[in-house]
Structure formats: C-alpha cells, structure tokens
C-alpha cells in the first residue's frame, strides 16, 4: 500500500512556491506551529503564518499558489469563524499538508485527517518514524521529519555548565494524572533521592481559564538547577514526545521517559526506561554527565530541523 501511495502522490523534486502555516486562533498546536516556523526560517524557505480566520479572507488566486501546512485542523476549523468558508478556501490551496505531532494511530489523529480537509501529505515531527502505523489507517502520503535542532538552539553545549550547582536531583512537572502520580509513588518506593521538584497541576474543565502554575520561564529556571527531567506515558500506547526532550536538554537537564511499553520496543532514543529502578541503575552506572552527552549527541545526529523540513517538503 505504501509503495502505491508513493507512486500516486509523491513527485520528488517539485518545489513549493509559497508556504503558509495555518494555526487556530486561541488554542491548539501553537508549539508545533512555532517550531515549524523557526525551522523554515532557517531553511531560507519563505513562510507565512496565518490564523485560521485569516485564511477565510485570502483570495483564491493567492491560495492556488500556496501550500498550506495546517496545525491542529479541528481547532482551526472551530476557530475560523466560518467553517464552510474556511474549508472551501483550504480546498483552493495548491496543496494541503497536515503538520502532526503525537501518535498516528490515536483517534485524534484519525479525526484530524478526516475532518473535512483532503490532505495531500502528512509531515510528522518527532524522533521516530511512524510510517508503518500510519499506513494501517490512511493512504495519505506520510513523511517523517526528525525534530532536530533549530538555528536558535545551536551550538549546543558539549557539557552543561556548573553541574555541581544542579542541586535539584529530578523534576516532574505536568498534569495531575494517574500516570504522573504513579511515577511519583514509584520514585519514593524505589528510594530515589527525595529532594526532587514535583509540580502536578490538576486538570481544569475549561482551557480558557486554565493558568499554568509554571510558565516556560519558570520551568527553564528550575531545569537550569536540575539533573534529570522525568515524565511518564499519558496513555497506554508507546510513543516518545520529542517536544518534551528539547527544553530540558537545552537547559542542561537529561530527559528521561519512564514507559515500559516504549522501552520494550527498544527505541534508538536515549533516556527511555522501563521503570524507575532501570533509570536508577543507569544513573548509578553512567552518571549524569555521560547521560547528558548521549542525549545531546542523539539530538544532533538526526540533522537540523531546517534541513529535515526542506527535504520532506521536496518529497510532497
């Protein structure tokens, strides 16, 4: 099925004339849209960012020469102001590409592909290709993009500055979910250094009234004093969230995901552990600095985001 899809849809060598990222108005994958924008800026590919409501007022002529990279299509449609106008404008575009992060076999992913927009391709930003999983649920051509360093992030420090000043042994920040609570319990049951930083925020019903306890600046400040950044699986499916890797690494903290299913798959990504005791063993055997270097080398080895995005677009 995959080879057939490639034969039908992929025209290598074709250059995109104009590229625009479309994102929802109030909420959605802003992080994804922002990262794509940074990536393309460094690639010398001209890119425009549109709110979904702004797409509704673009002329068909402009759109016919534009490739739209849509982040969070469901939210884009909902916040466009006029669903039918938005969908008709998107249909006028030269091409429509779904920008995606997260598991491709989730119900949310399928919903994004089937929510009124006929996509010509999917760009999946992450650390590991999900091509096989995607092929099982959709014939839309799939392109994996390694979520590598942006221009702003380089050069990455070979060694974190002042490791002795990192007095916070670990950081656990996220929603007050059962998985995070269980991870905290496991850390204490296993006798890990109890001085870790733990901030778990209760889920709120309304996203518009949700104020994060810890903003990006606050998290960066904490990470700059910490050694390991931990998180666990939010759902029961094996997946590595590349976006959770980057910020800790840039702050000199080692990203560590505790997820037995993912660990069992033996991913090439460093810092994936079946259990807290497996993490403890690695800390004991290798230590913080060696683990940091391994994470850093992995991030660099996948190539720059700009280059990866350009190559993927060339295949669309």
């Amino acid at each position: 099925m995959e080879s057939k899809a490639k034969a039908c849809y992929l025209r290598p060598g074709m250059q995109t004339k104009t590229l625009a990222i479309v994102r929802p108005h109030a909420a959605g994958d802003h992080e994804l849209a922002g990262r794509l924008s940074k990536g393309f800026r460094a690639s010398s590919q001209a890119v425009t960012m549109y709110l979904s409501s702004e797409v509704c007022v673009l002329s068909d002529e402009v759109l016919s020469g534009t490739t739209l990279l849509v982040a969070s299509p469901k939210r884009c449609i909902e916040t466009s102001g006029d669903e039918s106008v938005f969908l008709s404008k998107v249909a006028c575009a030269q091409k429509r590409i779904l920008a995606s992060i997260g598991r491709v076999d989730s119900s949310g992913y399928l919903g994004r592909l089937q929510r009124g927009i006929h996509f010509d391709a999917v760009l999946d930003l992450g650390f590991a290709s999900q091509e096989d999983r995607h092929a099982e649920i959709s014939e839309v051509p799939y392109h994996f993009v390694f979520n590598g360093p942006t221009r702003e992030e380089e050069p990455l420090a070979k060694e974190p500055a002042n490791p002795e000043e990192r007095t916070i042994p670990w950081v656990l920040v996220g929603p007050k979910s059962e998985s995070n609570r269980d991870l905290l319990g496991e850390l204490f049951e296993q006798g890990v250094d109890p001085g870790g930083f733990c901030l778990l925020q209760a889920r709120v019903l309304s996203k518009s009234t949700a104020h994060p306890l810890l903003g990006s600046q606050g998290l960066s400040a904490v990470l700059s004093k910490a050694r390991f950044y931990l998180w666990s699986a939010d759902r029961e499916a094996a997946y590595y969230e590349s976006f959770r890797f980057i910020e800790p690494l840039l702050a000199g903290t080692v990203p560590c995901k505790i997820e037995s299913d993912l660990a069992a798959e033996g991913p090439d990504i460093p810092g994936v552990y079946a259990s807290v005791s497996a993490l403890q063993a690695e800390i004991r055997d290798e230590g913080y600095l060696a683990m940091y270097r391994r994470a850093r080398d992995f991030y660099i080895s996948g190539g720059r985001l700009a280059k990866n995005l350009t190559e993927a677009l060339r295949l669309v």
């Binding site: 916070i168 007050k176 870790g196 733990c198 306890l213």
Partner: protein, 297 residues
C-alpha cells in the same frame, strides 16, 4: 534509632507524668532562627508514634547535616492507650536526643496543643507533624531555607497519601488562592513561623470550628496579608489508616474540609471572604518557591 528498639523498651522504663503542666513555665519567648521545632500532638495514637518520632529525629539529623539545629516536642493530650507510658520510655531511652515530651493530665484538644507547642518551641520555625504522619527528613532543610528566605508565615510542600504502604494520592500540592474560602486544600502538616501565628492569636479554639482550625488559620494568615509559600517538594507522608487522625476527622466532620458543614463554610466565608475587604474571586495569594531557584511563578 530503630523502631524495634523503642518498642522493646516500653515496659522497662517509667517516669512521672507532669502532675501540673504549669504550662506557662514551658513557654520559650525568645525563639532562635537557625533551626526547626517539630511538634507532634498526640491523642491515643500510640501505634503510630514510633513512626512519626523516628521520622522527626531523622529530619533533625538532616537539619544538622545542613548546618541547622532541631528539636522535637511531643505533647500527649491525656491519652488512654498507653501513649504516655510509651513516651516516658522514649524520653528515658533517648535522653541525649533533642526531644521533649509533655504529658498532659487532662484533654486540651488539638488547637490548644498546637498553640502550646508553638509557645514552647525554641525555634521560630515549627513543623506541625500529626502523630500518625511521617516526615521526609531529607527535605526539611529545604523548607526551613524557604521559610527563612521568603519570610513566609506558612510554607507547605507536597504530602503523599499512603494506605497500606501504597501511594493513593497527593495533597497540599496547590498554591494558596482565594479558592481557600470555599474549602481547604492545604493541610496543617506544614512549616509555620510560630511568632507570626501566635501574633495572629494562634489556632482558634472556638468549638464551632473544631476540626477546621487549620483552615481558619490559613484564611486568617491570608487576611493578615502574611505570605503563604508552596515549595514543590515532598514534605511527608499522610497515612490513611483506620483510627488515624484523618479517619477520625472524616468520621466526625465529613471526609474533607471542602465538604464541611454549611454553617462552618458560611462562618468562615463571612469572616474572610467579604466583598470590600477581599474579593471572593480567583486572586492568587500564595507563591511557588524553591531555595535553588527563588520564586518560580
């Protein structure tokens, strides 16, 4: 100090119950800054005392390693379950330890015990530890540093709920906000500045608020514009067991203060959520702090 050692010694050592508490002579008005007094009020919780005392003495060791001092005051509220005999044993066995026991002949009630403990404390910062709970001793220096650096009247950290040795939840893990006028979510198991709490009158002993004095106290502190600081680090274990202080409070007063009797909620809101003094809205009054980072929010 091992748990087993305390228990084995129980039947061998006796001492005298204070015939007249003479409470005022126990007061320590001049409080030092460089340490923590851990206060354990006890009433019929003998089965849990060895655990809480063990954790408190361990925490004092950690304070010393970090360059601070510490003391433990256990106040027994006329228990009838052998707690006083047990405490006499502990006191005799560990005479060199920074431990004081006060054995009361008549029952004073929890808020009075906490007030007495704060008056007796040698140190300005006091950790309120229920007899059935357990401190994570390694982290007490972090809480003391936070109290000293912020000047907060109350510093709270995460508490891990445990039942049968397994974690069942987390509490005291949210910053103080005016949501507190609707229900309490910050436990009394926290580090407080005794001089500031005593200056506000200490824990209220009004019978109508019995069981909710910690809720009244935090609202009182906020109304007095005192600082309440959350340090996102685990302070201790909150053990949920039949006969524990939590279970007794839940049995008598409902499972959580947020489900307190309507008259209690009405009384506290009348006292602390009046339009014109403090708006009843979502104003955040607490802050997040960590000694390695400073204010984080």
């Amino acid at each position: 100090m091992s748990e087993a050692k305390i228990l084995q010694s129980t039947s061998r050592i006796e001492s005298t119950v204070l015939p007249d508490p003479g409470l005022k002579r126990l007061y320590d008005e001049c409080k030092a800054e460089n340490g923590v007094t851990i206060i354990i009020p006890n009433w019929n919780h003998r089965p849990y005392l060895s655990r809480s005392i063990h954790s408190a003495l361990g925490a004092i060791e950690h304070l010393r390693e970090a360059g601070y001092q510490g003391e433990l005051i256990v106040i027994d509220d006329a228990s009838r379950d052998g707690s006083q005999k047990f405490l006499r044993t502990v006191q005799a066995l560990y005479g060199d330890a920074p431990l004081k026991t006060v054995l009361l002949e008549r029952n004073f009630g929890l808020p009075r015990l906490r007030n007495l403990g704060m008056r007796m404390s040698h140190y300005r910062h006091v950790c309120m530890l229920d007899a059935d709970n357990e401190l994570v001793g390694d982290n007490l220096p972090l809480f003391l540093q936070s109290g000293l650096q912020t000047g907060a009247a109350l510093v709270h950290g995460l508490l891990i709920d445990q039942r049968d040795g397994r974690m069942t939840g987390i509490r005291s893990d949210n910053v103080a906000s005016m949501r507190l006028t609707a229900g309490n979510y910050i436990d009394a198991f926290a580090l407080v500045d005794a001089t500031k709490l005593l200056r506000t009158g200490g824990y209220v002993t009004d019978q109508r608020l019995y069981g909710y004095e910690d809720w009244e106290m935090i609202l009182h502190l906020i109304a007095e514009e005192e600082r309440v600081v959350f340090v996102p680090v685990v302070m201790g274990y909150y053990h949920l067991a039949p006969g524990s202080m939590y279970a007794e409070t839940a049995a008598n007063k409902g499972p959580r203060p947020s489900t307190a009797a309507p008259e209690v909620v009405a009384l506290l809101r009348r006292m602390y959520a009046q339009t014109g003094t403090r708006e009843w809205d979502a104003i955040k009054v607490g802050r997040i702090y960590h000694p390695a980072v400073g204010y984080i929010d």
